[in-house]
Amino acid sequence: MAKVETKNLNLWFKDNHVLKDVNLTIKENAVTAVMGPSGCGKSTLIRAMNRMNDVISGCRVTGEVYVDGKNVYEDGTNVYDLRRRVGMVFQRPNPFPKSIFENVAFGPKIHKIANGKKLEEVVEKSLRGAALWDEVKDRLNDTAFSLSGGQQQRLCIARALAVEPEVILMDEPCSALDPASTARIEMLIRELSEKYTVIIVTHNLQQAARVSDFTAFLYVGELIEYGETEKLFEDPKSELTEKYITGKFG
C-alpha cells in the first residue's frame, strides 16, 4: 500500500530544475531511504511531500504528490494539517528555546489536540515514543538546551510525534551526532516504522543499508533506482547506482 506517491514530480527553484520527473512510491509502515550525492535534490524531494518548499521563494512545482491518495498540491489543500500529518525532523536538532515539556506540548496546543491533563499524557506518550522519557521525566521543566545533541534530536522526534503524524520525514537526522547517539536513533527509526511511515534522507550508505527496507537513489534530480535495500546493495540494477554505492564516484 503506497502511503506517499509522487507522479511526474518536477520542481524548480527560480530557473534551477531541481527535481526531474520523479516517480516514487513509498510503502506504508516501512523505512525508505533516499540517498544520493550532495545537491542531487534529496532534501528537496522529501520537503515536497509536506510542502515545506513553499516557504522558499521562487519555488515552482508541476506533477502530483499523493499522500493517502490525495494530491497535496491540489488547490484548497490544508497545508497546515498536511504538515501535521507529515512531520519532519531536521539535520541539526532545532528544539525551541523553551522547556522540554513546552517543546513537545507546542504542536498539540496549536492544533488543539489536547489540553491540561490530557496534554501531560500526550507529552509523556510522545517522549516514550522517542525513547527519551526515562532520561527527562524528572526534569521536564528544564530548558531543552540542557540536553545533549542526541537527546535534543530525540526531543525533536518526540515533538513531531506529539501531533499524531502518519508519515515522518527525516533529513539526515544523525549527521550532526556522534556514533552512539546515531545508533540509538537508528534503532528508534526501526521501532517507529511499526506505527509510522518513515522516509529518511541520508548521505551515509551504511546507514541506509542498516536502517531501511527500501532505498531510492537520486542523482542530479532524477530517480535512478528504487528497490528493496538488501537487493539494491547486493546487486544494483543500474550501473550508476553501482558506481555510487561502491564509491567509484562521490
Binding site: A209, F233, D235, E242
Partner: protein, 212 residues
C-alpha cells in the same frame, strides 16, 4: 576514481589467483606422477601446505577489507566469492596430496592409471576442468565458468561407468584399491571446480546458480 579499497582488492585478487595456479600445479604434479607411475607425494604435500597457508592469508585479507571498507554490491560479491574460491583451491591441493599419497601407499606406485581405458579419460577431463576454473577466475568469465556444468556431467558419467567396471574386476590388486579411491578423488575435484565456477558467475552477474 581510485578508492582505498582498490589497492586491497587488487592484492586479494593476486593472492587468490596465485593460490589457483599453485593448486593447478599441485594437481598436475599429482596427475603426472599417477599417470607415469612415479612418486610425487612429497612435492605435492609441500605445495598443498603452501596452498593451505595461502588460504589463511586470503581469509585474513578479505576480513580486513570488510572491516575497513564495508564493501557493497560488486565489491562485496567479489570478496565473498574469493573466500569461497580460496577454500575450494585448498581442497584441490588437498585432493592432489590424497591422490599421490594413495598412489604411493596403496598403489605402490604401480602403473595403475593405464589399468583401464576410462581412468586416463577421467584424469584428462578433470585436469581440463581445473584449468578452466583458474582461467575463468582470471577473467571473471561467467560464460567460461558455466561450461563447467557440461564437463561435470561427463565426469559424472565416466565416474559411474568406471565404478561399474571396477565392480566387475576379477582380481583384487593394489591398483584396484588405489584406483577406487583415486576415481573418487577425481570426482570430488570436479565438484569443487563447479563451486569455483558458481562463485565466478556470482561475481559477474549477481546470480546464485548451480552448476551440477
Amino acid at each position: 576514481m581510485v578508492r582505498l579499497l582498490d589497492a586491497g582488492l587488487e592484492q586479494l585478487t593476486v593472492m587468490v589467483y596465485k593460490s589457483g595456479e599453485a593448486a593447478k600445479s599441485a594437481l598436475n604434479m599429482a596427475f603426472r606422477g599417477f599417470m607415469n607411475g612415479k612418486d610425487a607425494m612429497d612435492d605435492v604435500r609441500d605445495l598443498s601446505d603452501v596452498i593451505s597457508s595461502m588460504t589463511v592469508e586470503i581469509e585474513n585479507k578479505a576480513f580486513e577489507l570488510i572491516v575497513k571498507y564495508q564493501p557493497v554490491a560488486s565489491d562485496l560479491r567479489i570478496i565473498n566469492s574469493y573466500m569461497k574460491i580460496a577454500y575450494n583451491f585448498e581442497r584441490y591441493g588437498r585432493y592432489a596430496w590424497d591422490l599421490s599419497f594413495t598412489h604411493k601407499k596403496l598403489g605402490a606406485l604401480g602403473e595403475c592409471a593405464v589399468a583401464s581405458d576410462l581412468m586416463p579419460k577421467l584424469v584428462e577431463k578433470v585436469s581440463e576442468m581445473v584449468s578452466k576454473s583458474v582461467e575463468a577466475l582470471r577473467q571473471h568469465d561467467a560464460e567460461l565458468a558455466k561450461t563447467l556444468a557440461d564437463t561435470e556431467k561427463e565426469v559424472d558419467d565416466l565416474y559411474f561407468a568406471y565404478l561399474d567396471q571396477l565392480s566387475k574386476a576379477r582380481a583384487q590388486s593394489k591398483c584396484v584399491m588405489c584406483n577406487l579411491l583415486v576415481s573418487r578423488y577425481l570426482e570430488r575435484i570436479a565438484d569443487h571446480t563447479t563451486y569455483v565456477g558458481e562463485a565466478i558467475v556470482y561475481i559477474a552477474t549477481g546470480e546464485k546458480i548451480s552448476l551440477r
